[in-house]
Symmetry: C2
Subunit: 245 residues, 2 copies
């Protein structure tokens, strides 16, 4: 048995754990043997088992509960796409435009679906999110404002009832990305425009008007995109800024 290829232990362990899942030895939501048991079972060190678990955790397949054990997730799209967010955290600025372009494709469609599907509680929750957004927009620092802006849009997308869509959208609109887009937007004076956009979107949702929802959402993303484009052009290429020299 000459195996010419030398497979890293951690990688092999990943495969073994995945096999345990796909063979049904442990199902979704169920608990995995302890790290020490797996270590003995696979004949590798505990550290290697931990690295394998780290990988699968990052991929959204496993979930670790300190002191309680390692569990298989429900394997839903939102579990598996959670890691997706790094994209918007480390990508260079031009990528932000690409991301917005993708959002321009999915957010209007999602908003249209939401207009047809949202329950009264959904609308109430989204409305409250918007109220808080406007409150903090006037009083607190822009950081909080961004969080509620995020909540507003995510709440709408969630109403579309498509977990995959929700997860993809979440990845394209992480807090970090939002922050990078809006850094200094208060001074730019387009806050009022955004305020108006949000209100119109909410009205369209309340009217249960998919077409209006699509149109208002499109206009909104387009406004952000255009603003970002001109902004990037004006400041050049200062990604993440240079902190203290």
């Amino acid at each position: 048995m000459v195996d010419g290829v030398r497979t890293p232990v951690a990688q092999r362990t990943v495969e073994q754990i995945k096999a345990m899942i796909s063979t049904g030895e442990v199902g979704p939501q169920q608990r995995l043997p302890t790290e020490r048991d797996l270590s003995a079972r696979f004949g590798v060190s505990r550290g290697s088992v931990r690295e394998a678990i780290r990988i699968l955790t990052t991929l959204g397949v496993l979930e670790v509960r300190h002191g309680a054990g390692v569990y298989v997730t429900a394997l839903r799209p939102d579990d598996l796409l959670e890691a997706f967010g790094v994209l918007s955290e480390v990508s260079p600025d031009p990528t932000l435009l690409e991301v917005l372009q993708v959002r321009r494709m999915i957010e209007p469609a999602a908003t249209a679906i939401a207009a047809a599907r949202a329950t009264d509680e959904d609308l109430k929750r989204i409305g409250e999110m918007l109220d808080r957004l406007e409150d903090t927009d006037r009083s607190a620092e822009p950081g909080d404002s961004g969080a509620f802006d995020l909540g507003f849009h995510r709440g709408i997308v969630a109403c579309a009832g498509n977990a995959t869509l929700t997860a993809v959208h979440a990845g394209l609109s992480s807090p970090t990305l939002n922050e990078r887009v809006w850094a200094g937007h208060d001074a730019a004076g387009i806050a009022r425009d955004l305020y108006e956009d949000h209100r119109r979107i909410l009205e369209a949702l309340r009217d249960r008007d998919p077409e209006a929802a699509r149109a208002t959402a499109t206009a909104h993303v387009l406004r952000v995109e255009r603003w970002l484009r001109s902004h990037l052009r004006s400041v050049g290429t200062s990604l993440g800024g240079e902190p203290e020299r």
Copy 2:
């Protein structure tokens, strides 16, 4: 409900490394300090640094070369979304419908953009892909057919010139997922319809007609989606769709 500072060391290390990247201390393609150096610099054990590196490697941010060092990837969207594929490997069938719904949002828009941007070589390449698809469709096994189908659609999306979009689309149309959708489609006899769809899309692209491109692409995805829905229903699955949380 004050959130304490109980941040795990490994997680914090991930943030610190990400910070090194986003501040530009280490750029794309560049080499990171050694594990031992990072260990000393962050004041954590080498094992924890390794776990952090594992996470970032899984996310496509870092790349490890045994004996040579740890490097930052090009940070292109396709690097960062490489791990995206797990979605289609372990997700339950109803997720496939969700995925197609998302594709219905982005693929028509992408095709429309492609119609306006595609070069002659692009069109030539896509046309050849389609020829090969039809050839294998008639002669070889459906597996190859799926590969060319994938190539056709990916080629179109790539013409849109948005790497993020390309990567997202790739994640939503991995070979594994494609295979699951089309398992048995030859027997279902809709191959001819798809053939027709593809030809119309290509014609729209050649006409540089964005609206036609959008319409034909929409019709195509819609056909696939409808086919899959009826197929899933026949085996007793139903579309989930109730929003979580």
